[in-house]
């Protein structure tokens, strides 16, 4: 397929067009479409269409590490801002995850009863924002989409959420905005530096990567700003407290999207922007990120264990799982980083499915308290089976998707961080503890709550929502090669880009200093002992 | 000339103070009419004949009638003095004095350099009209649109309220 088809633009904006049409076509007006069922079918069709387009993108994608399906057009030429989109293996995989999850979420939207049309509108808008974020190759465009993700989520939690939704949604938005404002400042600084050095303005990532020269100190600060924005989104350990609240209060669909896609954006941001732009700054922060990731793994697992709210438990398990992704990312070798991206997909599927399952229970019983359940396996066997499968996927049992990701991450990161990885293995154990405890308390035992006696098993529609995820769990566990094959070259490109830029910056800075003030070099080396050594060793290992 | 100016100035200031100081709105309004007439006379002294006429007709005539009409329509009582109002009065007066104090040196320093071209211009209807329909045609038309919008707005405000009131 030719890139002049504008495949990516169609992909990104199809949901938006659908969202606008929801309001333009009088057929979907609440007075005509009383229960919103027409609007639901329509938006489902839009999401499926988007999925079809993403499959086309996959079909025209060649297996190599380059950016493909690139489209570029000037947007605000006076500031060098352009509309530039493109995908490599990593973003394509995440885009497919998004387009797969979206129909599932829309199918699950039957639990939303009020303002259906607005809900669907926000969901579709959110999809556009997510796809745009994943495809953007212009920093400004990325930022716009990044912030655009926030608005629909704000309304989804704030309007259709639970009892403490206002608190949760404010916390979510303020946390995220706090980070992303710093990121904006950093972006502007980088572009300013670029303009200073080249005499022209450009927000295009490839320009910034190729030609912006930053000093080590600048890099550290800029990476810190990016890391805060992305770290909050991931979320990395001390910035995670918005997540349980947001998850608990969000409606089912919101939780699924939040866990399934939004959390991935942090890691994606690190891969696409944070690490390549500021390789030496990142280098300095790797031990910190790694430590926080491991803390997050163990901490999330421990805290998840003592939760009594099912959604909160799953939310904390997300903190633990995303810790693995961060660990794999900062290990910076092909195995671990590929595993990290793969684990992003897994987490989207298994945790998304777990939230859907909780949603199924919540629709029937309107409580998320573990103590309110128990012995359900006898009453709702199909549900129990689904719950079991996704639980196992979540605790990374071999032949489910989770195992591949976790194994790749741990194997790869063991090479770089033997100690941290050994500690992270605690998470493997604790993961089984909290998930199986949850499963035992809800599914096993006597059916002692009278209200559970009238529970009905999953309906055909609900089965339809789980079916794609179920297939993916086993497919990705049994035969991950089609995905890994596309991820690996992209990850290799990422790693070599980081390495190359790091060397380039190092040489330029040294060269500049040698020209200007030779005596400074010695002072510089004295001031940051070890820095050069750390870099050289870890980059050598990243050849793996 | 100077005597006339002094008289007019005294009238303008006195009536302005009257607007602010008198309790009854009707009295304030009447003072304002006096003030406007005084200003109109000052315009005339500055050779702005057309403006002087318009000031009398539009301001003193039309707008003030409207204000008086509203005051009578609403049958407004005398304003009761307020405890915090005294502090506010003092504060406002103080601020005003400060303001004047700051302006005074400005006038003194800044305006000495001005040369006076007083004899060269005539604010006649003819001169005025020529400018309005050539250089200022667009603002003029825009102003007419503004007035139309204002009329529509005024009607809408009145009308909507009638509906609300009837409920």
């Amino acid at each position: 397929m030719h890139s002049s088809w504008n495949l990516l633009s169609w992909l990104i904006f199809t949901p938006l067009i659908g969202a606008v049409l929801l309001y333009l076509i009088p057929l979907f007006h609440p007075s005509v479409d009383r229960h919103g069922s027409k609007a639901r079918w329509f938006s489902l069709a839009v999401a499926v269409l988007t999925f079809a387009i993403s499959v086309c993108a996959l079909a025209s994608f060649e297996v190599n590490g380059s950016m493909q399906l690139v489209e570029r057009a000037a947007w605000i030429p006076s500031f060098g801002i352009s509309y530039a989109v493109g995908v490599d293996g990593i973003s394509l995989a995440l885009i497919l995850l998004t387009t797969v999850l979206m129909p599932v979420v829309l199918l699950a939207s039957y639990s939303v009863h009020s303002k259906v049309r607005a809900y669907l509108f926000h969901m579709l808008l959110l999809e556009t924002a997510m796809l745009g974020t994943l495809a953007a190759l212009d920093v400004f465009l990325f930022y716009v989409f990044w912030e655009l993700m926030l608005a629909p989520m704000y309304f989804i939690i704030g309007i259709w959420g639970g009892t403490r939704r206002i608190y949760a949604t404010l916390k979510f938005v303020l946390y995220t905005v706090f980070g992303s404002v710093l990121m904006l400042a950093a972006i502007l600084y980088v572009v300013w530096a670029y303009a200073q050095q080249t005499g022209e303005m450009s927000f295009l990532l490839s320009d910034l990567l190729a030609r912006t020269e930053l000093s080590f100190k600048e890099e550290v600060w800029l990476f810190a700003a990016f890391a805060l924005a992305f770290g909050i989104k991931v979320p990395i350990f001390p910035f995670h407290t918005w997540l349980p609240d947001a998850h608990v209060e969000a409606p089912t669909g919101g939780s699924v999207i939040l866990a399934g896609v939004l959390l991935k954006m942090g890691i994606y941001g690190f891969i696409r922007f944070g690490f390549p732009l500021f390789p030496r700054g990142a280098e300095l922060f790797i031990p910190v990120l790694c430590g926080l990731a491991v803390i997050g793994i163990v901490y999330g697992a421990l805290v998840a264990w003592v939760q009594t709210d099912i959604k909160k438990l799953v939310a904390y398990s997300s903190v633990s799982h995303l810790g693995y992704c961060v660990l794999g990312l900062v290990a910076l070798n092909t195995v671990a980083t590929t595993g990290s991206v793969y684990q992003l997909l897994n987490h989207g599927i298994s945790t998304g499915a777990l939230f859907l399952l909780v949603g199924v229970l919540y629709d029937r019983r309107h409580t998320r308290d573990v103590a309110e359940y128990g012995g359900l396996a006898a009453k709702v066997p199909v549900f129990a089976f689904l719950f079991l499968v996704f639980t196992l996927s979540s605790i990374a049992l071999p032949l489910t998707n989770g195992f591949i990701g976790e194994f790749l991450i741990l194997t790869g990161s063991y090479v770089t961080f033997p100690f941290y990885t050994t500690v992270a293995l605690l998470g493997v154990i604790l993961g089984a503890v909290y998930m199986l405890t949850l499963y035992m308390k809800t599914m096993f035992g006597q059916l002692d709550q009278a209200k559970n006696g009238s529970l009905t098993d999953v309906s055909a529609r609900e089965v339809a929502t789980f079916l794609p995820l179920l297939i993916l769990v086993f497919w990705m566990g049994l035969y991950p090669q089609p995905i890994l094959r596309r991820l690996e070259p992209a990850v290799d490109t990422f790693l070599s880009d980081v390495k190359a830029r790091s060397q380039m910056l190092e040489e330029r800075e040294m060269g500049f200093m040698a020209q200007m003030r030779p005596q400074l070099i010695r002072a510089q080396e004295g001031a940051v002992p070890g820095h050069g050594i750390v870099q050289r060793t870890s980059l050598k290992e990243s050849n793996l | 000339m100077m005597i006339l100016f002094a008289l007019l100035g005294a009238l303008v200031i006195a009536s302005a103070i009257g607007v602010v100081a008198l309790r009854h709105p009707i009295h304030s309004a009447l003072c304002l009419v006096l003030n406007l007439v005084g200003v109109a006379a000052l315009y005339a002294m500055l050779d702005a004949h057309f403006l002087s006429a318009v000031q009398i007709i539009v301001y003193a005539g039309a707008i003030m009638v409207l204000v008086l009409f509203v005051i009578m329509l609403l049958n407004i009582k005398v304003e009761q003095p307020h405890r915090r109002g005294i502090i506010l009065t003092l504060l406002a007066t103080l601020a005003g004095v400060c303001f004047l104090g700051i302006l005074a040196p400005l006038f003194y320093r800044g305006l000495r350099g001005f040369t006076d071209h007083s004899s060269k211009i005539e604010g006649t209807v003819e001169a005025f009209g020529e400018l309005l329909f050539t250089r200022y045609l667009f603002p003029f038309e825009a102003a007419s649109v503004l007035i139309m919008v204002a009329i529509v707005g005024a009607v809408m405000i009145g009308k909507r309220h009638q509906q609300g009131g009837s409920k």
Binding site: T241, Y299, L410, Y414, T422, T437, G445, E488 | -
Partner: protein, 625 residues
């Protein structure tokens, strides 16, 4: 070594298909589930036997099913491989598995969710076969975790009782601890050798004395994995609880097959352990302790299945002892004979439980030999076998273990060989004693229960007879054939001289002594056990309460960890982090509240402020100029 391609994938495939079919068909036709599952299992056995018949001791059958996953230098194929060791294990798994399937069709006939049972059971067969056929560490690990899952599901099969479900969870979690160690071993091996394939690893490691340090660590990690799966100290606590599952499950998973996976893995990785004498010394000590502690615990249990469970733990200790002495074939030999007689014992216990209407407490049994003669006879044979009395199967394997321990050349252990042999002999004596106790309490004396015991149906008793026959002749049959068959895969010590029957009988004095003493204590001298118990009360209580290991773990591990978790959640998450977050929010809110006082909402105030601000701005510019 000749590597030949063969359709190995069919072996695990039969039970996998059977699992799905049994579940789907079984939902409609209860009886069909058992038949389908049994058929699948038998087919797997037949196919294994067919392949086995065609292979020689040196053959390695190989089947690369598909390339599983691969990133950079980490390329993993889904390889199945069957060499002599794999073939032996495969035959045991499918053979014993088929028998237990058949037994289960009768045992579980009255259960409501029999389709679920057989589905899980076949799934277990699938995983176990992957475990023994896996050609690399990861396929083995798939089976390793898979059997753990099935064990979890089957222990908690009667999930309506929350304790059973909790036992399943305990099994899974404890196994996971071992698995973490196992994973660590895999990481180390991959990191250093860039492969996880057994043959490639063997080629890289075997006999390379420079790798001793690495191998010590790797072997330790792998052994941690083995302690989890094969219930050794410190991770043995799950196995007694696992008796919550249906009895055929206990027989298949928790006696005959799954728990021996650790031994199998050790034998499979013998080239690593061979370079790690220090680790082997640790294995010896752990296994010795496990064998002894479990045997003492078994002495005073009243639940018939608990006795067998602790006996299994103890026997697994024996196997590890053999393996740690480098006599892997002996360990595998004991795995096989143990599978025969322990399956027989468990199924016999199941038959008793079935006959006594789900009574498991031996104090409410007794005199059952009259009601269920076949069960009694087979139980007797198996008891004599486990006691290690000639010519029953246990004799040959136990004798070989003691022989191996006597000639242990491990530099860390060799000086204490005689002590170890003495303790093992004593443990063997205890084994004979407590097994005789359970035999006597169950089948001798007067019936003390209230039910109406009856013999089990033919499907059950037939299987019992088959296993009893194996327990009777299995050891004798395999004694020379097994080492010959395994010698190309495992190090086999030069065979000991054959002995006469009299010598053999003399060598079984330990077992005979145990059996005789047990018979005396629990039939004619019925008052003696109580007397002995009251004499050594503290020790007795210690044994009876299982050395307080569960309580200990609960107190030093589980509770503190839960407390810490709760503390982290309340103090760090909600207190500290959210405190900081909400605190900064509150600061902004408060300052807003203060500033709000300036906002009176009255236009004239705002006007005044505007005026003041204008003055301020003008002043600012005046001062600047």
């Amino acid at each position: 070594m000749e590597r030949t391609n063969a359709a190995l994938a069919l072996i695990p495939l039969f039970p996998l298909v059977g699992s799905v079919a049994a579940f789907l068909v079984g939902r409609v036709h209860k009886r069909a589930a058992g038949i389908i599952a049994s058929l699948a299992s038998i087919l797997a056995f037949v196919w294994t036997a067919k392949l086995f018949a065609a292979m020689s001791a040196e053959t390695v059958l190989e089947d690369v099913v598909f390339s599983w996953f691969g990133v950079a230098s980490l390329q993993v194929d889904f390889t199945l491989r069957m060499d002599a060791l794999g073939a032996v294990m495969c035959l045991v798994v499918t053979g014993i598995g088929s028998l237990i399937h058949i037994y289960s069709t009768a045992y579980m006939a009255e259960d409501d969710s029999v389709h679920r049972f057989f589905s899980y059971l076949n799934l277990f067969m699938f995983s176990m076969l992957l475990l023994v056929l896996g050609g690399n560490l990861l396929v083995l690990f798939v089976g390793w975790e898979g059997v753990g899952l099935c064990s979890y599901l089957l222990i908690g099969f009667w999930f309506r009782t929350i304790d059973y479900a909790a036992a399943g969870r305990k099994a899974f979690v404890v196994n996971r601890i071992g698995d973490a160690g196992f994973l660590l071993g895999i990481f180390l091996l991959w990191m250093n050798f860039g492969t996880v394939d057994f043959l490639e690893l063997e080629a890289a490691i075997a006999g390379n004395m420079t790798l001793v340090g690495l191998c010590t660590v790797v072997a330790l990690c792998l052994f941690i994995g083995a302690t989890g799966k094969s219930a050794q100290i410190p991770l043995f606590v799950w196995l007694p609880d696992a008796m919550a599952g249906p009895t055929p499950v206990s027989a298949l998973i928790h006696a005959a097959t799954m728990v021996t996976a650790g031994i199998y893995m050790m034998a499979r990785m013998d080239f690593v352990f061979a370079l790690a004498p220090f680790t082997l010394a640790i294995v010896t000590i752990v296994a010795l302790l496990t064998a002894f502690v479990a045997a003492t615990t078994a002495l005073l249990q009243n639940d018939i299945k608990k006795v067998l469970a602790y006996s299994t733990v103890s026997q697994l200790g024996f196997m590890f002892l053999a393996a740690s002495a480098g006599a892997y074939w002996v360990a595998i030999f004991h795995v096989v004979t143990h599978a025969f007689f322990k399956a027989c014992l468990f199924l016999g216990a199941g038959s008793v439980i079935h006959g006594c209407h789900h009574e498991q407490d031996m104090r409410h049994m007794g005199g059952l030999s009259r009601y269920m003669p076949i069960t009694f006879a087979t139980y007797l044979v198996a008891t004599l076998a486990i006691a290690g009395i000639f010519p029953f199967a246990g004799y040959q394997s136990k004798h070989a273990i003691l022989g191996a321990l006597e000639h242990n050349v491990n530099p860390y252990i060799a000086p204490y060989n005689s002590w170890i042999v003495a303790l093992v002999t004593f443990t063997a004596f205890l084994t004979a004693f407590y097994m005789t106790r359970s035999l006597a309490m169950t089948f001798f004396g007067k019936y003390r229960g209230h039910a109406h015991p009856h013999e089990s149906p033919a499907a059950m008793s037939g299987v019992l007879v088959a296993l009893a026959v194996l327990s009777l002749f299995g050891g004798w049959f395999l004694e020379t054939r097994l080492p010959n068959f395994l010698e190309h895969v495992l190090a086999v010590a030069p065979g000991h001289a054959s002995e006469t029957i009299v010598e053999s009988l003399l060598h079984s004095w330990v077992g005979i002594a145990g059996v005789v003493l047990g018979l005396l204590f629990y039939t004619s001298l019925a008052g003696v056990p109580g007397l002995v118990f009251s004499l050594f009360k503290p020790i007795g209580v210690l044994f009876q309460r299982k050395w307080f290991v569960d309580e200990l773990y609960q107190a030093i591990l589980v509770r503190p960890l839960e407390g810490v978790s709760r503390g982290l959640w309340k103090a760090v998450d909600q207190g500290f982090i959210d405190g900081a977050v909400n605190g900064s929010g509150a600061v902004i809110d408060t300052s807003g509240q203060v500033l709000r006082l300036t906002q009176s909402g009255q236009v004239r105030h705002y006007a005044l402020w505007m005026f003041v601000a204008t003055i301020a701005i003008v002043v600012f510019f005046l001062v600047r100029s």
